[in-house]
């Protein structure tokens, strides 16, 4: 029952708010926060009680099962916290104090909660897709802006493309005899289907997590409000992919290929998208790319089988990234810009935001003793345990790069306030109100302290990173920061990196444009050819008739033109014998009768 409440409360209250519309705008922010608090309470309770429930869904075997186990417990709390933080923060933003926004956020969070507690593929897929749709609604929240709308579409379509993998996986699981579609039973599918299931799951997870080659949608998603980004990038949506992979490590293992593939994709994303982040001049874009890169570590962990490391990374990153996005959002609200160049001195002018941002960035950079430093090394330890040295090296490179871009961001905001206000930026008279600051502080604390979690729950982290690894990564991070600090202003932005490796253009060129072209071609085909050939037989016969009667005038009725023309010709032909002349009737009748007699004689 607890679990039903956990997923029911946000979903129902969210749906209620979303449906109520403007009438509830006034009460929405408060209601949202209250619900979020309730959810957090439920989440904690659920994490403690570890409930398992289910209900019949489709055919007898396929049930709507939910369960909270270790991984889920961690996730539900993370999700609840992130949601609460985001709702509290957005309460301070005038544009977001609508029941529509709060409703969608709650629905979104509810869907994520369902995702992380789902025990069967069917329910997981449902929540997974709802999350995608809600991301559309949230990214496109400012629907009058064509860019946000387009960004929303891109996000939804890209993730849905990946979701197709889950549909196929579900089918393949059923084909493979896993009639219940239970996640736990998926690995028991026989070979041909096992691979299909794994491939589908991997595709879906990579798409949701904006791993290569799907990363571009996350860049677009920055058009949404900052709290949305915070939610999307931290505990939900992109994290869902990583969560799914972590949850289904037992499925990846027996295939032989899925683990290494996933690991390599994760590592590649960590490195390449890290470089992309370095090249960004827009703070939110930088953070977005860094999200991809950081999620890459989780994916790497999943590929290497390091559940604990991956989960830790997930939680730590959630706290950190929520913090960073909210900070960026706060600046965006008060300063009206998110360009790094225009944010010079922002931290000095808004010290609370600046400090918390710096804490978050330091964590992101992997500076000891902050949370991501630990979690990253936990992931890398899992990789190393496998003996995948190249991957380990790549991971370290990724870590170094993350230090570089974190340092770059921090460098900018702590620069002295420029003398003249950049054009287009809002006059700096805004204040960061309490609703915004409170979550920042809390999150900063979390981001800093979550690294201690494994030590609290002693021994739960396996394999634990060796001391030398921790030291090595800490040193590398520090060194990278030091180097960056001095050259931050000169970091260039190579085109491919600045434009997110051109992934979106590639997607357009490879998938969107051909599809549209095919669609247009087929539409023309449908109109011009298929429609007209409705009665090709009649036309063929009609050809002779038309030769006899060329005067066939164009018919008003365009739709049935081809048939009609043919029919008209035939109709005229059929009327030709009726000349009105009796002697011609006679001749025709006589000839016809003679033919009939001959016919009868011949066929006999």
């Amino acid at each position: 029952m607890l679990l039903w409440w956990l997923i029911g409360v946000p979903l129902l209250s969210g749906a209620l708010l979303a449906v109520t519309g403007r009438r509830a705008d006034r009460a929405a922010p408060v209601a949202g926060v209250l619900v979020a608090v309730a959810v957090l309470g439920l989440a904690v309770a659920a994490a403690d009680a570890r409930p398992v429930v289910d209900a019949p869904l489709l055919l007898a075997g396929i049930r709507a099962g939910f369960a909270v186990d270790g991984l889920s417990a961690l996730m539900v709390i993370t999700v609840a916290v992130a949601t609460l933080a985001v709702l509290v923060f957005s309460g301070g933003d005038r544009d977001l104090r609508t029941s529509r926004f709060v409703g969608f956020v709650l629905l979104f969070a509810g869907a994520m909660l369902v995702t992380v507690t789902a025990a069967t593929l069917a329910v997981l897929l449902m929540a997974w897709e709802v999350m995608g749709a809600m991301s559309w609604a949230l990214i496109g929240y400012q629907w009058r802006e064509p860019e946000s709308v387009r960004a929303a579409g891109t996000a939804f379509l890209t993730t849905r493309f990946a979701d197709l993998g889950l549909y196929v996986a579900a089918g393949a699981a059923l084909a493979g005899g896993v009639g219940s579609l239970a996640l736990a039973e998926l690995p028991s599918a026989p070979t041909p289907w096992l691979h299909v299931v794994a491939a589908g799951v991997v595709l879906a997870a990579l798409g949701k997590s904006a791993q290569l080659p799907f990363s571009f949608w996350l860049s677009q998603a920055m058009h949404g409000p900052s709290p949305v980004s915070a939610l999307l990038h931290s505990a939900t949506m992109v994290a869902a992919g990583a969560y799914l992979l972590l949850r289904l490590i037992p499925l990846l293992e027996p295939t032989g290929w899925a683990g290494p593939l996933v690991a390599w994709v994760g590592a590649a994303t960590a490195v390449l998208l890290g470089l992309v982040a370095v090249a960004q001049s827009d703070l939110k874009q930088l953070l977005a790319a860094s999200t991809c890169a950081q999620i890459g570590f989780m994916v790497l962990a999943a590929g290497a089988g390091g559940v604990a490391g991956g989960a830790l990374q997930l939680v730590a990153h959630a706290a950190t990234k929520t913090l960073l996005f909210l900070a960026a959002g706060a600046w965006l609200v008060v300063l009206g810009t998110k360009q790094l160049g225009e944010l010079r001195g922002a931290a000095r002018r808004f010290p609370v935001v600046g400090v918390t941002f710096t804490v978050g960035a330091a964590s992101l950079a992997g500076l000891p003793p902050l949370s991501l430093w630990v979690s990253k090394d936990a992931v890398l330890a899992a990789v190393l345990e496998r003996g995948w040295v190249p991957l380990y090296v790549a991971g370290l490179a990724g870590a170094v790069i993350s230090a570089v871009y974190s340092a770059k961001a921090v460098w900018f905001v702590w620069q002295p306030v420029p003398a003249r206000t950049p054009a287009g930026a809002r006059a700096a008279d805004g204040r960061v109100n309490a609703a915004m600051s409170l979550p920042l502080v809390v999150l900063a604390a979390l981001a800093a302290l979550l690294g201690l979690l494994p030590t609290l729950a002693s021994g739960s982290l396996a394999p634990a990173p060796a001391v030398w690894e921790l030291v090595l990564s800490g040193l590398l991070a520090a060194a990278a920061i030091a180097v960056t600090w001095r050259s931050a202003a000169r970091i260039g932005a190579p085109r491919p990196l600045a434009s997110w490796l051109g992934l979106e253009r590639a997607a357009h060129a490879v998938i969107v444009h051909p599809t549209l072209a095919l669609a247009r071609f087929l539409a023309r085909f449908d109109d011009r050819f298929l429609d007209r050939s409705v009665d090709a037989a009649a036309r063929a016969t009609g050809a002779v008739a038309r030769a006899l009667d060329r005067r066939g005038e164009p018919l008003v009725d365009g739709a049935v033109r081809a048939v009609a023309v043919a029919a008209r010709s035939l109709g005229r032909l059929a009327r030709r014998p009726q000349t009105g002349q009796v002697h011609q009737y006679y001749a025709q009748a006589a000839a016809a009768l003679a033919l009939l007699a001959l016919f009868v004689i011949v066929v006999r």
Partner: protein
């Protein structure tokens, strides 16, 4: 089989026919003494005769079948059904012609000619001997020639001329065929003829059969004896057109069915294929030619040609499909009532001659428009009208009799026919610009309209109640 022992000249077996004849003779005499405006008595007498004939038919149908007047006249289910359908058609024709003929100086003759023609048609259906067949052909033809020219208009007389010339020419063919069949079969009675034909030279028998069929095709208006149909239907008043496109078909098809089934061994002449071909050509030609007609009567004329095509399917499978006879007879009944209904609508709007004249009909004459739609959809074969059951049984019989291809042709044709029926329905339901009914939609009288309603209702009821009727139509 022969001679006196079987000789049955009991006139009691022919009560319906005699009633018709008596009605005609008495009616003619009566009419000679009646004032012009009291000629409706003759019509009443004719109706009474027809009703009495129906009662007699019903009574006779309960008795087992027999052969009367030597072997020349068969009284069986086919004959009973022919009688019943023709008599009902006569009743409808009497009703729907009231508006056009009441008080006319030749009203009496109209009624009498109708009765005589109907009598000939019934005899056609029962004829079991080539000689009687031709005599009945003659009797079923001449009165209708006169009906065609009855109104003495320029178009009506032209129609009569064409009708007559077609009939004379194909009548000659029919006599030729009779002579040839007699020559190779040594008899004109169907039973002995069949024995004679089993050993007869095929070529001569084929020529004879085709020539005899030519006359019957003239009666039913099937290709190649169809040339008169459009011209006569178009040139005559709607009641006459209704009569000549409906009544002769009933007996003609019955005669064809009996002739082929009883007298012509399919082993000698492949008549099923012949009739199937005729059916296919008839329905196709009729439908195609109807496509772009603008005159409603001409359109209906071609539609009757196509309907003959469907009816011929049942003839083609005579003896090869159990359903052939009930299918034929039921379709005939449904066709007769539906076709008369459509013509009744035309008769009710005597000024509307083209499809475009019917524009706005639904608004100004909603009931009549409904009747029209029911009848036209009925002719298409939309369930649950009678023609649908007819088509269903006919198609079933066709497939059962090995003519699946013919059923396919019929299906395609049915779809094609929808087009021109809809060309008529569509303007009727288009809103007319003006509020007042246009002049062309002025009523021609209540009788035709009432007949139209009755026919439309009957077409549906017959379809719905087909279950009760069909068992009566199977061969005993």
């Amino acid at each position: 089989m022969t001679g006196a022992s079987m000789m049955n000249e009991n006139p009691g077996a022919l009560i319906p026919e005699l009633l018709l004849l008596g009605g005609a003779v008495v009616g003619l005499l009566l009419g000679a003494w009646l004032p012009r405006c009291r000629q409706w008595l003759v019509r009443l007498l004719a109706a009474a005769a027809a009703l009495a004939g129906l009662a007699a038919t019903a009574a006779a149908a309960t008795r087992p079948g027999e052969v009367a007047f030597g072997t020349s006249y068969a009284i069986d289910t086919l004959t009973h059904a022919t009688r019943a359908i023709v008599l009902v058609a006569v009743l409808v024709a009497l009703a729907l012609s009231v508006d056009a003929t009441a008080g006319h100086r030749r009203e009496t003759e109209f009624v009498v000619l109708l009765q005589l023609g109907a009598l000939g048609t019934i005899l056609l259906g029962g004829a079991n001997d080539l000689l009687l067949l031709f005599a009945a052909f003659l009797l079923a033809s001449v009165p209708f020639y006169a009906l065609a020219g009855w109104d003495k208009s320029t178009l009506g007389t032209e129609a009569a001329m064409k009708y007559y010339l077609s009939g004379a020419f194909l009548g000659v063919a029919m006599l030729t065929g009779t002579a040839v069949l007699y020559g190779v079969g040594r008899s004109t009675a169907y039973g002995p003829l069949r024995e004679g034909l089993t050993v007869a030279p095929v070529a001569a028998a084929a020529v004879g059969l085709v020539a005899v069929l030519a006359g019957l095709l003239f009666k039913v208006g099937g290709v190649p004896g169809h040339f008169w149909v459009p011209d006569v239907t178009d040139g005559t008043p709607a009641p006459v057109a209704a009569i000549v496109t409906t009544i002769p078909k009933i007996g003609g098809l019955g005669a064809m069915y009996r002739l082929l089934l009883v007298a012509i061994p399919a082993d000698t002449i492949d008549w099923p294929l012949l009739v199937a071909g005729l059916a296919a050509v008839s329905m196709t030609l009729g439908n195609l030619a109807a496509f772009f007609q603008t005159s409603v009567q001409r359109l209906l004329a071609y539609s009757t040609i196509s309907q003959v095509g469907y009816l011929l399917i049942a003839v083609a499978v005579a003896g090869r499909a159990g359903l052939a006879q009930p299918a034929l007879l039921f379709y005939l009944a449904g066709y007769a009532i539906t076709n008369l209904g459509a013509f009744a609508v035309v008769a009710a709007l005597p000024s509307a001659r083209t499809l475009e004249d019917y524009r706005g009909m639904a608004r100004h004459r909603p009931a009549l428009a409904t009747a029209l739609v029911v009848c036209l959809l009925g002719l298409i074969g939309t369930p649950p009208t009678a023609v649908f059951v007819g088509k269903l049984t006919v198609f079933t019989a066709a497939v059962e009799g090995g003519f699946a291809w013919l059923a396919v042709v019929a299906v395609v044709n049915t779809v094609a026919s929808v087009f021109y029926y809809l060309r008529w329905i569509a303007p009727a339901f288009r809103s007319a610009a003006e509020q007042a009914p246009p002049a062309v939609l002025e009523s021609g009288g209540a009788a035709a309209a009432v007949s139209a309603y009755a026919c439309a209702a009957a077409a549906v009821l017959l379809g719905v109640g087909a279950g009760a009727v069909l068992p009566l139509l199977s061969p005993a």
